[in-house]
C-alpha cells in the first residue's frame, strides 16, 4: 500500500477516544449503584426462587415490612440451579452480595457444615415474638446443623401424598383407601388407564434430576426396604430392594403412566393431572393449592387425597422445605434476621391470607397455621393430611435401616446432587425403553461406590 501513516495524529485520536471512554466509565462507575435507586434507611438484598409463595413475599414486603421497620428489601429472583450456583459462589468468595437467600432442606445442613450460614437459633431464642416452638419438628430437624442449631428458617414446607380424580374413581366404582399400598395403586392405575380417552392411570415424574425423578422414586425405594447407603456407607443401589422398587416404578409408568414420561417433572404432571388427563398423581403436597384453584385447574373440587402409598413401611411421604437463610458474609445480620422473622412468622401468614387469599398462605411449617379457621376452610380437602404427612416424615430414619446422612428423598451429602442426577438419567432412559433397570442401577452402584469411598 502506498498510503503513509501519520502516527502522531493517530495516536492522539486514539488517546482521546480511550480517555473519553474511560472518563465516561469512571464517572458513571460512581453513579452505577444508584442506577436502580437506593432507599433512605437500611437496605438488605434477598435472593430467592420464583415459586408462587416467594413472589407473594416480594409483593407484600414494601407495603408492610418496609413500612414497619424502614428497612428496604431488594429481591433477585432466579431459578433453583442458578440460585444454588450464585449463593455458593458468593459465600465461597466472600462476595457478601446477599443478606438473605432461599435454600432448600437439602442444602441447609450441608452449607451449615461448610460454615457458609449464620446460625439462627440465637436470634430466634432472643426474639420473643418468633415462637420457635410452634415450628413443626421435622422442619426444624431438616434445617438444623450437626450442632443442633437452626441454620435456615422454614418459609413453607411440604411432604408428598397421592392425589386422585374422584370423578374417575366414582365412574369405575373404586374407593381409595386412606393409606393405600403401592400394589393397590398399581391396580387402580391399570383399571383407570384409558388410552383412547387420553387419560393415564397415574402420573409419576420421569424427568432426570435428583430433585425430579428421584424425589418420588427414593420414597418408593424407602418403603420397599431399600436405601442408597447403609449406616457404614455401603452402597446399596443395585440391592434387591432398590431394584424391586425401581422396576415397580418404571413398569408402572411404562404400562399406565403419562405420555412423554421421561420428560415429565412436577410442572408437567401438575398440568396433566390438572387437565383431568391422569387418574392419580403421587407428588408434593404443595401441588394441592394449585389443583384446587379453578382458574388454573380443571379438576378443582374433584380431587381426593390419600397418604403416600407404602409397601413395607407404615409411612413414606417425603419432607421438603424452602427456607430463608443468612449467608455468613452478610453485613446486615440484624436487619436480615428482622426480615426472616417477619417472613416466617405467624403474622405473615395472616397477612397473606387476608390480603392475597387463604389458599396462598405459605403453609407446612407452623402448627398454628392449621388452627386458623379461614385457612382450614380454604384447605379443607388437604390441610390435615398435609400436616400429618409432614409430622410423620422422619428425615433421620426414613426407611427400614439406619442411614448415614439426613434426608428422606435425598442423601444429605454434597455429592448426592451429582450422583442422583446421573443415576436418574439412566432410570429415565429405562422409562423411555432405551436401557434396563438392572443396567441403570449397576452403573449407579459404581457411582455410589466412588462417593462412599470419600466417607468410609
Amino acid at each position: 500500500m502506498s498510503r503513509t501513516r501519520s502516527p502522531g495524529r493517530w495516536r492522539g485520536a486514539f488517546a482521546v477516544a480511550v480517555v473519553a471512554g474511560l472518563t465516561l466509565t469512571a464517572c458513571s462507575g460512581a453513579g452505577g449503584r444508584s442506577s436502580s435507586g437506593s432507599g433512605g434507611g437500611k437496605t438488605i438484598t434477598v435472593l430467592m426462587v420464583g415459586n408462587p409463595q416467594m413472589e407473594d413475599l416480594a409483593k407484600v414486603t414494601a407495603d408492610n415490612f418496609t413500612k414497619q421497620t424502614g428497612i428496604t428489601v431488594r429481591f433477585t429472583i432466579l431459578p433453583e440451579n442458578e440460585l444454588r450456583d450464585k449463593v455458593t459462589q458468593d459465600v465461597a468468595t466472600q462476595g457478601g452480595q446477599y443478606d438473605v437467600a432461599t435454600i432448600g432442606a437439602y442444602e441447609a445442613p450441608i452449607w451449615a457444615k461448610n460454615g457458609w450460614l449464620h446460625e439462627l437459633s440465637s436470634y430466634a431464642d432472643a426474639d420473643g415474638g418468633y415462637d420457635e416452638a410452634d415450628l413443626l419438628k421435622p422442619m426444624v430437624a431438616s434445617l438444623s446443623g450437626e450442632d443442633g442449631k437452626l441454620y435456615a428458617a422454614p418459609f413453607y414446607g411440604e411432604s408428598s401424598f397421592l392425589m386422585y380424580n374422584k370423578e374417575l374413581f366414582a365412574a369405575k366404582g373404586l374407593t381409595m383407601p386412606e393409606r393405600p399400598t403401592w400394589q393397590q395403586v398399581a391396580q387402580f392405575a391399570a383399571t383407570l388407564d384409558d388410552k383412547k380417552a387420553g387419560v393415564a392411570g397415574i402420573c409419576l415424574r420421569g424427568l432426570p434430576g435428583w430433585g425430579e425423578l428421584f424425589a418420588p422414586l427414593t420414597t418408593v425405594v424407602n418403603t420397599f426396604g431399600g436405601t442408597w447407603f447403609e449406616k457404614d456407607w455401603t452402597p446399596k443401589v443395585n440391592a434387591p430392594e432398590f431394584t424391586e422398587a425401581t422396576k415397580f416404578y418404571v413398569d408402572l409408568i411404562r404400562a399406565h403412566g403419562e405420555p412423554g414420561a421421561p420428560q415429565a417433572g412436577f410442572t408437567e404432571c401438575l398440568n396433566t393431572f390438572g387437565q383431568g388427563k391422569a387418574a392419580m398423581w403421587y407428588d408434593a403436597t404443595s401441588a394441592a393449592g394449585t389443583l384446587e384453584d379453578a382458574s388454573a385447574s380443571k379438576v378443582a373440587g374433584k380431587v381426593g387425597y390419600a397418604y403416600a402409598p407404602v409397601n413395607r413401611t407404615t409411612s413414606s411421604g417425603w419432607l421438603w422445605a424452602w427456607a430463608l437463610a443468612m449467608p455468613k458474609t452478610t453485613k446486615n445480620a440484624d436487619a436480615a434476621w428482622k426480615f426472616i422473622a417477619w417472613a416466617t412468622g405467624k403474622e405473615y401468614e395472616k397477612l397473606v391470607g387476608s390480603s392475597l387469599g387463604w389458599s396462598r398462605v405459605p403453609a407446612g411449617k407452623r402448627q398454628s397455621t392449621y388452627e386458623i379457621p379461614e385457612y382450614r376452610q380454604s384447605a379443607t380437602a388437604f390441610a390435615d393430611l398435609t400436616l400429618k404427612s409432614i409430622q410423620e416424615a422422619d428425615p433421620v430414619n426414613p426407611g427400614r435401616q439406619p442411614r448415614p446422612a439426613l434426608g428422606v428423598q435425598f442423601v444429605g451429602i454434597p455429592e448426592f446432587a451429582d450422583l442422583g442426577t446421573k443415576v436418574s438419567q439412566e432410570v429415565s432412559a429405562a422409562i423411555a425403553g432405551s436401557t434396563t433397570v438392572e443396567k441403570a442401577l449397576a452403573d449407579g452402584q459404581r457411582l455410589a461406590d466412588d462417593v462412599a469411598k470419600e466417607y468410609r
Binding site: N51, P52, I77, L78, P79, Q89, T93, T267
Partner: protein, 289 residues
C-alpha cells in the same frame, strides 16, 4: 416481416430458458419464504403464548385457538421491570458506543493505513474470542470483587465493550476495505485533513456498516446472560436476569415467561426496525453476508 421473423426466431430459443429461470426464481422465492417462516415461527409462538392462560400454554398437544388474555403481561408488570430495562439499555447502549469509538480507528489502522504486522494484530483480536467465557469467569469475578465493582452496571459496560470489540474491529475493517483507495487519495490531494477525510469521505460510505456493527454489538450485549447472572445481584441485573426469574420448579410459567420475553425483545426489534435500511446495505457489503 423478415425482421419480425428474425426477431421471433431469436426469441424462441430464449423463451424456455426464461421460463426455466422463472420457475427457478419462484422455487427460490418459495424456499426463502419457507426459511423465513421457519425462523419466524418460534417468535410467533412466543408472542402467541404470552397471550394464553398458563393452562393453555402448557397443554400438550399445543392449542392454536384460544381466547387471548393478558394474565401473563399482568404478572410481568407486577414485578418491577424498569430497573432491569434501564440497566440493559445503559449496558448495551454505552458499550456499543464505546465499541464503535474504539473499533473504528483500530479498523482504520488495520485496513486503510495498515500498521506493521497488521495480520498478527488482527489474529490477536480474534484470538481473544477463542477463550470460553466460563474459563475467564473466575479471574474476572475476583478482579471485579477486589475493585468493589460487583453488582455495578458499569462493570457490565466494560465487559460488554471488551467482549464485542474484536468482532467490531473485524467487521469495521471489512467495511473500510470496501472504500476505494482512490477516494481517500483524492481527498488527500485536495488537502483534506484526517478528520475531514473521516467525517466527509469515510463515514458516509461506511455508515451502513457502522449501523450493522452497532446493531450486532447491541444485540449481543442485550442478550448476554452468563456474566450478568454471575456478576450482578439486586442493583445491576439486566433484562435476561429479569426473564429467568419467571422460571419456577413449582407451578406453570410458560405464558408469563413468553410475555416477559416479548416485552424484553421489543427494544431490539425496534432498534433493528429503525436501522433496517442501513442494515440491508450494511449486511450486504463487507464480510457479513
Amino acid at each position: 416481416m423478415t425482421t419480425l421473423t428474425r426477431h421471433g426466431s431469436r426469441r424462441r430459443p430464449t423463451s424456455p430458458a426464461r421460463r426455466a429461470n422463472g420457475v427457478r426464481g419462484a422455487a427460490w422465492t418459495t424456499l426463502a419464504w419457507l426459511a423465513g417462516l421457519l425462523f419466524f415461527l418460534p417468535v410467533l409462538w412466543m408472542v402467541l403464548t404470552g397471550f394464553k392462560r398458563e393452562v393453555d400454554a402448557a397443554s400438550n398437544p399445543p392449542t392454536w385457538f384460544f381466547t387471548p388474555v393478558l394474565d401473563g403481561y399482568r404478572q410481568v408488570f407486577d414485578r418491577d421491570l424498569t430497573p432491569y430495562l434501564l440497566n440493559s439499555v445503559t449496558a448495551s447502549l454505552v458499550s456499543t458506543l464505546l465499541v464503535l469509538l474504539l473499533a473504528t480507528p483500530a479498523a482504520y489502522a488495520l485496513s486503510i493505513r495498515p500498521v506493521a504486522k497488521w495480520r498478527d494484530v488482527l489474529f490477536f483480536f480474534i484470538s481473544t474470542k477463542m477463550l470460553p467465557a466460563v474459563a475467564a469467569l473466575l479471574p474476572i469475578y475476583l478482579l471485579v470483587k477486589q475493585l468493589g465493582m460487583l453488582d455495578n452496571v458499569w462493570t457490565m459496560v466494560v465487559l460488554y465493550t471488551s467482549m464485542n470489540l474484536p468482532l467490531a474491529v473485524w467487521m469495521m475493517r471489512s467495511f473500510l476495505l470496501e472504500v476505494p483507495s482512490a477516494l481517500i487519495e483524492a481527498a488527500a490531494m485536495d488537502g483534506a485533513s484526517l478528520t475531514v477525510t473521516i467525517r466527509r469521505i469515510l463515514l458516509p460510505i461506511v455508515a451502513p456498516g457502522l449501523a450493522a456493527t452497532a446493531l450486532i454489538c447491541f444485540i449481543f450485549s442485550w442478550n448476554e446472560f452468563f456474566f450478568a447472572v454471575n456478576l450482578t445481584a439486586t442493583r445491576a441485573g439486566t433484562s435476561p436476569i429479569f426473564l429467568v426469574g419467571f422460571v419456577t420448579s413449582e407451578g406453570l410459567f410458560l405464558a408469563r415467561l413468553c410475555a416477559a420475553a416479548t416485552i424484553v425483545s421489543l427494544p431490539v426489534v425496534l432498534a433493528g426496525w429503525i436501522a433496517q435500511k442501513q442494515l440491508v446495505r450494511g449486511l450486504s457489503m463487507g464480510a457479513v453476508k
